[in-house]
Symmetry: D2
Subunit: 360 residues, 4 copies
Amino acid sequence: MSSTMGRLFRVTTWGESHGKGLGCTIDGCPPGVRLDLERIQAQLTRRRPGQSKLVTPRQEPDRLEILSGVFEGRTTGTPIQVVIWNKDADSSKYERWKDTYRPSHADYTYDAKYGLRDWRGGGRASARETAARVAAGAIAEQLLEERYGVEIVGWVEQVAHLSAEVDRDAITRDLVDAHPTRCPDLAVAEAMAELIQETRVARDSLGGVVGCVARGVPAGWGEPVFDKAEALLAWAMMSLPASKGVEVGSGFSGALMRGSEHNDLFTTDDDGRIVTTTNYSGGIQGGITNGMPITMRVAFKPVATLARAQATVTASSDPAEILMKGRHDPCVLPRAVPLVETMAALVLIDLALLQEARRP
Amino acid sequence: MSSTMGRLFRVTTWGESHGKGLGCTIDGCPPGVRLDLERIQAQLTRRRPGQSKLVTPRQEPDRLEILSGVFEGRTTGTPIQVVIWNKDADSSKYERWKDTYRPSHADYTYDAKYGLRDWRGGGRASARETAARVAAGAIAEQLLEERYGVEIVGWVEQVAHLSAEVDRDAITRDLVDAHPTRCPDLAVAEAMAELIQETRVARDSLGGVVGCVARGVPAGWGEPVFDKAEALLAWAMMSLPASKGVEVGSGFSGALMRGSEHNDLFTTDDDGRIVTTTNYSGGIQGGITNGMPITMRVAFKPVATLARAQATVTASSDPAEILMKGRHDPCVLPRAVPLVETMAALVLIDLALLQEARRP
Amino acid sequence: MSSTMGRLFRVTTWGESHGKGLGCTIDGCPPGVRLDLERIQAQLTRRRPGQSKLVTPRQEPDRLEILSGVFEGRTTGTPIQVVIWNKDADSSKYERWKDTYRPSHADYTYDAKYGLRDWRGGGRASARETAARVAAGAIAEQLLEERYGVEIVGWVEQVAHLSAEVDRDAITRDLVDAHPTRCPDLAVAEAMAELIQETRVARDSLGGVVGCVARGVPAGWGEPVFDKAEALLAWAMMSLPASKGVEVGSGFSGALMRGSEHNDLFTTDDDGRIVTTTNYSGGIQGGITNGMPITMRVAFKPVATLARAQATVTASSDPAEILMKGRHDPCVLPRAVPLVETMAALVLIDLALLQEARRP
Amino acid sequence: MSSTMGRLFRVTTWGESHGKGLGCTIDGCPPGVRLDLERIQAQLTRRRPGQSKLVTPRQEPDRLEILSGVFEGRTTGTPIQVVIWNKDADSSKYERWKDTYRPSHADYTYDAKYGLRDWRGGGRASARETAARVAAGAIAEQLLEERYGVEIVGWVEQVAHLSAEVDRDAITRDLVDAHPTRCPDLAVAEAMAELIQETRVARDSLGGVVGCVARGVPAGWGEPVFDKAEALLAWAMMSLPASKGVEVGSGFSGALMRGSEHNDLFTTDDDGRIVTTTNYSGGIQGGITNGMPITMRVAFKPVATLARAQATVTASSDPAEILMKGRHDPCVLPRAVPLVETMAALVLIDLALLQEARRP
């Protein structure tokens, strides 16, 4: 435990990187939803390695199979089992290092916690686990869009010191996917691409920041005091591998502002709907959405796997040096974009259903 | 819902700012713990207003009363009910504005969600709700310290643009409490105090950052993949009023680093224990503690309540101006320190008990 | 743990028999409900001792106080804290026996589990704990009636070998309360009353069966496969002190029937609504309500507290004899009626809200 | 929802009778357990149809496959995914009746709840869903036996009016499996077998009662007040298809006894261990195990599927007659035995782990 998230739209993921497969059980998806499998597959494809020369050339087809919960194309309200089979995983390069702890990976902590671990390809701690989440998130996104008109868009906002300017009201996935970096600020995107290639050659890696907006969320979602919308979003984002920080609305920059500047004044829009003149709150006040766009930023550390020798210790606490061969992503930010969207969608659909329960 | 946090050490808070009182139920506290009530009271006192000229002069005595779950001074393993009575709350100044939404407060969103709200003193959305958490957190801290040797210390690291340098290995609560700002870097602390006084005069408010470290946490706590230690910490911190961002370890600054720099290399200390040479991971790898200090930072927005007129709308969407009289904190950062410690303690005790369950 | 039940309408009880008080937190009650406090008090009064000469003459006023979650007479959607203060509890008679295990009480098992216990009046294991549930259940009943037209009625169906005939379609609480035994079959009720008096004189005690019906429940409530309506009802009933068995629909007598006899054939009623010609299913099929009355029976063992000497052991495993003075109920069945109604209501309101969440 | 049970040993089942397969995710199984797959398979085989001429001759091989959570033969502490593939399911006979509600099945209630259903073979409501539970229960049983010395044995105690005498202290699975009825009282077993054959010829069906004992459970398991051991057992048993009643200890017969007779007096055994001279409590007092054998009885209604015409209605509320061809079990009691054992094991392992968490 705990591989389950959500109270009403409950997602349980399972599986290891080099086992037979991985997947998730979605319990609580409303019945009667006509699933758009191509859409789910598309989001899975955005996550997988090998999409461009910027990311690792490993090819993981990531074809999903649905084993239950869908009948004649529609959800039945019973658990949906999604599986993504692992194919041709070669664990040999991991075997040599199975007793040597990779720096800033979870090898040591899994051993410390469980007393043993599946060392093949990182096992359960592999980022490949997130593929299962993406499948569930794509279903959540479909529901959010069809029933509530919610649209979630993420993008690469920063790679190392390179920062992009993004218009959160106008950004779309098409604009994001227009460049392989998934940075929609094309001048910055080009510089990022160049930096990524240089870093690959230098056998090093990069971190960065993913931005995300959820537009169209109605006022009233979020469950104070512990399941506030921003709290659940922060939790969801920080459950992603390699994430080190999260912001909602003004985030850390809000700490620099005065209250007279930061307060979002209420007014009405042309339709008479209550809105705010600014949105430093990031669409959430007191843990509850206020109808303005929800804005988030998630920091990712640089990739821990490096194509260079590093000092470490073995499971018997002996000093060692590790050098794992293979081609690795120097920067996972482009692939992190659908992950951030996924986690936002999974949080929001659960809050939506919880709010439905309140209205008899 | 949901006013409950934790899976084994479960805390449910209840109560509004100007109702009869507020409190919490702690279900799952191990039996046989000899409660140190003075210690609990001390942490409550650190949270309450009126401690110094820097914070609001409102006097809330915040005396706790335990109604159940403790017998002859020891916990019985059954639910502990803690109540903090509200005294002499004067709601009259709120009555005038009950239909006018205070900017960047939760008035509008509570109405949008629930259709009505207790407008007296902010009701359930008041930061006073956190007093109940502090009581529970102080019990958790006692358990963490006695059974696991864990020590949690928070401090004010930043107010507006003023940033302190703090030695996370050496900082203690005594050092923190030596200055009313709770900033242990005394030169910066004085500047902060001055800025807070200026801001009060200017009828404005300030935000900032609280830093926190948990030392002595053993390797092995945290429940991948969704209840990773950093995910739960992020969630807990972002459930605090006014928090806008959270970092674990390197946080957003980690996004600027190269992997070769960020990776925490393993070695052994003088006792042969596995440690890392740096701690950019912040004591957590793959969602599981690695025995190094857990480091966190939490961003708080400037206080929303201002002693000046602000534009807003009423519940019937009419434009309005609001000016709420009274003396308010221009900066809650000093009082946020025990809150951050509290949330860290509540997350960690739950992870500790979950890990106990794994070892038969 | 666990003193919490429910997923959306969540009730956490706390408190011991002779502590300061006991109560419950209700988290998730829909907002805007105008609470009928007299109704809640009335159900509490039906549970308390001293209502008639048939039950214990102890007087527990059981006046409830609401500390939070209700504003201007209506629920706010935030946690409702209900407290029932303990008054003048005399624990002296318990002190003498605090190290002697009462037969068929929870003294030994609480010690075995927790290592210590509040021995005053049975502490947490006292049936007095159920008073808190009754308060929550009365609120649930009000919601079920107003929003869904559900009516729940329980009665004493059996005391020892004396069994009543009760028309489940026509029974009302007024008919039930017409006799102090709460058995609506008046001839049998008189025999029960006589037997109870005889048993009191004989310093012995009696068990029995409470019957219950929930009429007006719409089709569609219940959450397969684990939270089937009958499963949750069975769990709820068996969480009551002294309950030893539970039946839904035909129960154990269904085991004696042939399928051709037991199957409830579908037809339509005068309004064209689908109904069944018989109701051996007890209103639930496949874990989901079918619109027919839900019928239940709960068996209670004879009261464990006897006004006679009994052999036992002490906490140090020494043989002992126990004889606890005081006046005790020889038969709690009349007071168990509101408890069974309470548990049914708490299960059904939660299933109602869960089904609301499914309908966007 | 909800297809998940357990708080620490959490089992989520998924899958429909005639879909691609069914299975379960076990999240929270302690790491390092060397799984005995043959043992799991053996229990699955005890559940499946076609074991003897007494039960349906349908052949479901029910071979399990483990997709995750086990590495080099041992559990890793991460989610275990078990799948049982469906083979050669012929849904044609169901297609004809897809709009006609089978009496006392879940066709109508699933439609009422979800608005649609997978009608093939009963879909999610099929008893085949329990195969997934059995796999999880067999793992739980292995843990209970190895770590705690707990042994669980179920048997057929009653078929229609035929009741067996069973020695709960001596009964073993070998004795139970010695007769195809799984009734260890061989004279009664023969009469049951004859009655089952007669009933098959008569195109009718039978109900009955399964008895079960858990021996070796230590004192201290169970979580008052809502997750009392007997409450969770009742819930678990009543979540089984066709169950209508459950008893722990004396059950409904306890309602007939006097307190002086029913009270289990404490004494010590030869090892100085506290025991009771009788066990009407069924091994549980105040919701917590007392070290005596846990005894249960579960009533099952007669099988709803009959090889004869029955009156019913269609989904459009029109009167209809249904006659579903095929060979069906006239009595599922022998196959219900492993199900009752399974549910007991799943409840007990969770309570065991919860109690571990209490002991730091």
